[in-house]
Each structure stands twice: as structure tokens, then as C-alpha cells.
């Protein structure tokens, strides 16, 4: 079985984001970029499936700017077997919308015929949480979103999902789309031998046109604003004083 793992190049989770002066988005010039952390978990899970003998090939794919090849190299250094880069934008500030990404992925899935597509549940830049679900709809495949546990059982996948109020375990028929949550696993470090091998692993370069997909944005960003600064706290001396203060601000 082949596993397809879409990975997105996003602003590094450690970077303190700044909104561009014109409010059109977040400033990404000269900012450290990394693999979306949820996608890293997906790559890790795919490699574990291969190591457990339940998958035989892990293919990473990234859709975005040319620099996304660095993200793919990271996936290869973690242990993915090969990569597909779809160069869909020139400007790092151009975000390809989930529907366009899902359409490109659908075309890739039809070419590659994976048994499972493992996606991060969302990208930490725009938090859309949509691509996996849209891909499932476009393909007419089953889906299991927010996975915190995954097991392959013959032609089924047993997935534990993190839902409001607890965990839900479902069984889906393969091929399927699984979007992964934070607690599924702890991604490995890229080992030195794998870092050195990564360069020699194949990376195909494509464009949306190769898949007949139009990536023109359908959404318009009206404005982007930084969250309001949190007001400074106060240190209280006793429980009584705490209750008093909470009453003052109408919190109790």
C-alpha cells in the first residue's frame, strides 16, 4: 500500500507573527518557515506504517511556492521515499486555497493510487481545516478527521478521533483520507544518514496546469489584524480578594 502525505510550508510555529502594514496578511518576508506541525505528524505516521510493514511507499507532496522543496526535503529526511512538488505560486504571500489544493491532490491521488492519504488536520497559518475533508468529497472516499490513533486492519482503517467531549473510534474502508491531530505521535528527528540520503531521493516538479486545475483565489481577504493585546493581570493576596475582583469585572 502506498501512503500519500500532503505537507505545507508555513511560518514556523516559534515565530512571532506580524501583520503587514497594509493589513493584507501576515508578513512572511525573511521569516523562518517550516513544515506545518500537523503534517509532520502525518509524515511520521506514514513512516511508522511503512516500518510496521503496513505500507510500502511514502510519497510526500507539497503545493505552493518553489521553496516548498525545502519542506519536502525535510519529509524525505524524516524517511519519505519520494516527493512531488507542485509549484503553484511565485510569491510567498500567495496562499493556495483548500479547494484548489484538494483538486490538485485529487488528480495526484488518481495518478498515484494510494491506499491512504494522511493529512495534517489543518495548517497553522490559516487554520482552514478543510483540505482533507474536501479531498474526501471530491474523491468520494471515506474520511476520518482528527485522528489520535490509527491502525490498518486488512481493507479497513480503525481510527480514534478526538471529538468534543472525548474519543470516538470509527472503522473506515480503504482507500481513505485521514487527517491527523496533535496526539497521534511524536515526530522523529531527521537522522543524519537520512538527511544525507534526502538529496538523492526523487522529487518531481509539477504545476497546477499539469493537473488541469485553476488556482485563482475565490476568497478575498478584507483585512488582517493582530489579536488585541491582553491586559495586564493583577496579583491578589487572598481568595476573598480574588472573588471580590471577579465580581468587580462581572466574571462571577
Amino acid at each position: 500500500m502506498k501512503v500519500l502525505v500532503p505537507v505545507k510550508r508555513v511560518i514556523d510555529y516559534n515565530v512571532k507573527v506580524r501583520v503587514k502594514a497594509d493589513g493584507s496578511g501576515v508578513d512572511l518576508a525573511n521569516v523562518k518557515m517550516s513544515m506545518n506541525p500537523f503534517d509532520e505528524i502525518a509524515v511520521e505516521e506514514a513512516i511508522r506504517l511503512r516500518e510496521a510493514g503496513k505500507a510500502d511507499e511514502v510519497v510526500a507532496v507539497s503545493i505552493g511556492v518553489k521553496q516548498a522543496q525545502e519542506t519536502l526535503r525535510t519529509a524525505l529526511a524524516m524517511g519519505a521515499d519520494r516527493a512531488i512538488l507542485v509549484v503553484a505560486a511565485d510569491d510567498v504571500h500567495t496562499d493556495i486555497e483548500p479547494l484548489a489544493v484538494a483538486k490538485i491532490l485529487k488528480a495526484i491521488v488518481e495518478e498515484e493510487a494510494p491506499g491512504i492519504v494522511l493529512c495534517g488536520k489543518q495548517a497553522i497559518d490559516n487554520d482552514m481545516n478543510a483540505t482533507g475533508q474536501m479531498l474526501s468529497a471530491l474523491l468520494g472516499w471515506s474520511q476520518a478527521a482528527f485522528a489520535s490513533d490509527l491502525d490498518i486492519d486488512g481493507d479497513h482503517a480503525v481510527v480514534t478521533r478526538e471529538v468534543d467531549g472525548g474519543l470516538q473510534t470509527i472503522k473506515v474502508t480503504l482507500p481513505t483520507i485521514v487527517t491527523v491531530d496533535l496526539r497521534l505521535n511524536e515526530p522523529r528527528y531527521a537522522s543524519l544518514p537520512n538527511i544525507m540520503k534526502a538529496k538523492k531521493k526523487p522529487m518531481d516538479e509539477k504545476t497546477p496546469a499539469d493537473y488541469g486545475v485553476d488556482v485563482t483565489p475565490r476568497l478575498e481577504i478584507i483585512s488582517t489584524a493582530e489579536p488585541e493585546a491582553r491586559a495586564a493581570g493583577v496579583i491578589v493576596g487572598s481568595v476573598d480578594e480574588l472573588v471580590e475582583k471577579l465580581k468587580e469585572v462581572g466574571a462571577v
Binding site: 525545502e70 528527528y189 537522522s191 543524519l192 544525507m196 538529496k199
Partner: protein, 386 residues
């Protein structure tokens, strides 16, 4: 001329950086407070380093290492330098001098060291022989075909965990027009060899937990098989291999300075006094500017020296410059980082006071700043007959 890193180098940096942040940082306070690295922590760091293929990554592939270039290895050590020396010691990097092993010495020392089965340490300094290496008293004499060693070594880092020590010992004296000159031979000495003891050294203000040990040789008998390189060839062995320890110091200083800088930058942006972030006051903002400028300069100086080695160019002077500048830069940067923090910088709630203490030894070990200046000036003046 190219200044950027390639993709592999970027990934090496990011892997080692994550490793240090996740596997080293969490144990640092405990190690600094107790002066000890818990056995299980040491084992875990070592095991994970081996699993990741980074153990002995400074060794060529033909002996089982990862074959990193000097530049790549400097990047690894730069990132390690962010973390505690006591802990990152177990991210094993055996002395590259072990490449001088011949014949069966490779099976007994080189290969097990590269595999992480046997740990080494290097011993040169003596109570009476610091910068003046040739002033060493520790000596070996011939007896019934063996060598009998007597004397004391001190400040021997890593000897507490070492299975064997690479020891420099005087094996004779030549009369030269400039006075008598010791001949030096390098020996491989196993822990447990009769007449050889390793004991705790001094308590140091820098790098607590990275112990300096005292070695004592009392009629310690060693066969010829323990000689590393040629008899009386110790200086050749030193000159061929010991440059590496000075690049290590330089590049680790850069890593640690960047970590101290990250704290200072963050504090300058967050801390408000007189109604604004303190970084907006030139007194603080300009210190930040000077810090990063010096750090970048030291980084480039060090990587350029390492890259010269990769190109097979002479680099002795450049390495000395890097070691000198980076270690003195670290002193200034850690001092300034504390100044930016004011009183809080001295409290052990922040690691800055530790960085500041740790920085002090960098201008001393592996050749003091004065010795580095001597090397640099001699390199420049000697060809001119001065």
C-alpha cells in the same frame, strides 16, 4: 564565494537544534545545581545520538563515521554549543586524533570509540605545564622493552566517563641552541591500567557537571602497542589533529552567544520601563545591535576557518583568530545580556548567569587568548624574519 548553507546543512542544523532544545535543555538546571549528570540521562542522550547517526559524525565514513566536512561538523557543534557542555558531552564526538591509530589499535580504540562502545578523553595539561606544553613533567622511560610512566595531569575534561585516555608524555629531551627541548610521545592508556588512577579535580565556576579530572601515573607500565603515532612524535600528532578542539571552542561560543542573545532580544522587546519597551532606549537597543554584529562576525570567522580545512588550505592562523574572537565575543555578549536584564539577569531564574560563568573558561582552555594571539602574530611575522 558562497555564504549560505545548502539544504542538507540546513537540515543538520535544524535537527541538532531540536535535539539540544528537547534532550539537553530540560536537564540543564539540575546538572548545574548538582554538578552531576544523572547516569540515565547520559545514557539516553548517547543512545539517541547513536540512533540518529550523529555519534562520531566527525569521523570519515571508512571508519564508521558520518563523514561530515569540517564546515558541517562546525555547524553541529555550534548548535550543541547552545546547550550544556556537561550534557552535550554525551552527544559523542571522539577526538579525531584517534585517526592516528595503526593496525590493531584501530580495533581496540578507533572503531569502538566511533561506535560509542568506548569513550575517550585527552590529557595534556599538568599543574606545572599549562600554556608551556613542553614544560611537562609527566614522563615515560624505557624499562625491559616497556614504557614506565610517572607524573600528574590535571584539568582533564571527560576523563570521569572515559574508558581510555590519550595522554601526552615526555619521552626524552633534545639539546637545541635555544636550550633543552622535551620530546613528547602520545600514549593510549586504558582505565584500570595498574599504576594509573583518575580522580576528581577542582570545583569550577564554569560548566558545572563537565568535570575536570586529575590523572596520576605511578610507575604505570605500558607496552609499545599503546604508543599512538611515532615514539617522540607527539608534537607531530598534536599539530596534525589538535586544531579541531579550537574550532570546537569557537563554534560552541557562537552557539551559546546566540542563545544568550535570544534572551536579551526578547527581554528588550517585552520589558517596559518609563512607558516603553526598554529596547527603544538606545542604551539597550545599541547593545542589542553590537551583540548580533559580533556574533555574526564570530560565526562567519569560524565557519570560514573550517571551510579552509575542507579546501585543504592552511588554517592555523584563521582557527586561532576564530577561537580568540569567538571566546572574547562570548564574554562580552553574555555580560551585555545580563546588563539588558538588569538585576534579573543575575538570578538563577534565568540561565544567563550560567552562560556568563561558563563563558569565562572559553578564553582559557584549548589555548588561552594570549596563546592564540601568539600563534596569530607569529604566523604573520615569522615569514618576515621577525
Amino acid at each position: 564565494m558562497q555564504f549560505g548553507l545548502n539544504e542538507e546543512q540546513e537540515m543538520i542544523v535544524s535537527t541538532v537544534r531540536s535535539f539540544v532544545e528537547n534532550e539537553i535543555y530540560p536537564h540543564e538546571d539540575l546538572v548545574d545545581r548538582t554538578g552531576e549528570v544523572p547516569e540515565e540521562v547520559a545514557e539516553e542522550i548517547k543512545r539517541k545520538t547513536i540512533e540518529l547517526g550523529f555519534y562520531a559524525c566527525n569521523f570519515p565514513e571508512e571508519v564508521g563515521g558520518a563523514g561530515l566536512s569540517h564546515l558541517e561538523f562546525a555547524l553541529v557543534e555550534r548548535e550543541l554549543g547552545r546547550g550544556s557542555m556537561a550534557l552535550n558531552h554525551f552527544f559523542g564526538r571522539p577526538q579525531n586524533i584517534l585517526m592516528a591509530c595503526e593496525g590493531e589499535q584501530k580495533e581496540r580504540y578507533l572503531f569502538p570509540a566511533v561506535r560509542g562502545e568506548r569513550t575517550d578523553a585527552l590529557a595534556m595539561t599538568e599543574p606545572g605545564a599549562g600554556s608551556d606544553v613542553r614544560g611537562m613533567k609527566c614522563s615515560a622511560v624505557r624499562d625491559c622493552g616497556d614504557w614506565v610512566v610517572n607524573g600528574t595531569k590535571h584539568f582533564i575534561s571527560g576523563a570521569d566517563h572515559a574508558d581510555f585516555i590519550i595522554v601526552f608524555v615526555a619521552t626524552g629531551e633534545d639539546q637545541t641552541p635555544r636550550g633543552p627541548k622535551k620530546r613528547i610521545t602520545t600514549f593510549l592508556v586504558d582505565r584500570g591500567t595498574p599504576g594509573f588512577t583518575i580522580r576528581d579535580g577542582y570545583k569550577s565556576v564554569s560548566h558545572r557537571g563537565y568535570k575536570n579530572m586529575v590523572l596520576e601515573f605511578d610507575d604505570c607500565r605500558l607496552p609499545d602497542a599503546q604508543v599512538l603515532g611515532e615514539v617522540d612524535g607527539g608534537f607531530a600528532v598534536m599539530n596534525e589533529w589538535l586544531y579541531a578542539t579550537r574550532i570546537t571552542v569557537a563554534t560552541m561560543c557562537v552557539g551559546r552567544a546566540r542563545r544568550a542573545f535570544d534572551y536579551a532580544l526578547d527581554y528588550a522587546a517585552q520589558r517596559h520601563q518609563f512607558g516603553q519597551p526598554i529596547g527603544k532606549f538606545q542604551g539597550i537597543g545599541f547593545q542589542i545591535a553590537d551583540m548580533i554584529t559580533e556574533i555574526d562576525a564570530a560565526d562567519l570567522l569560524t565557519l570560514a576557518a573550517a571551510e579552509r580545512l575542507d579546501r585543504g588550505l592552511p588554517a592555523n592562523r584563521e582557527i586561532a583568530s576564530a577561537k580568540l574572537y569567538a571566546s572574547e565575543m562570548l564574554a562580552r555578549v553574555t555580560d551585555a545580556a545580563i546588563q539588558v536584564h538588569g538585576g534579573m539577569g543575575l538570578m538563577d531564574d534565568y540561565p544567563l548567569e550560567r552562560f556568563w560563568r561558563d563563558a569565562r573558561v572559553e578564553r582559557i582552555w584549548d589555548g588561552t587568548s594570549e596563546i592564540q594571539r601568539h600563534i596569530i602574530s607569529r604566523d604573520l611575522l615569522r615569514p618576515l624574519g621577525a
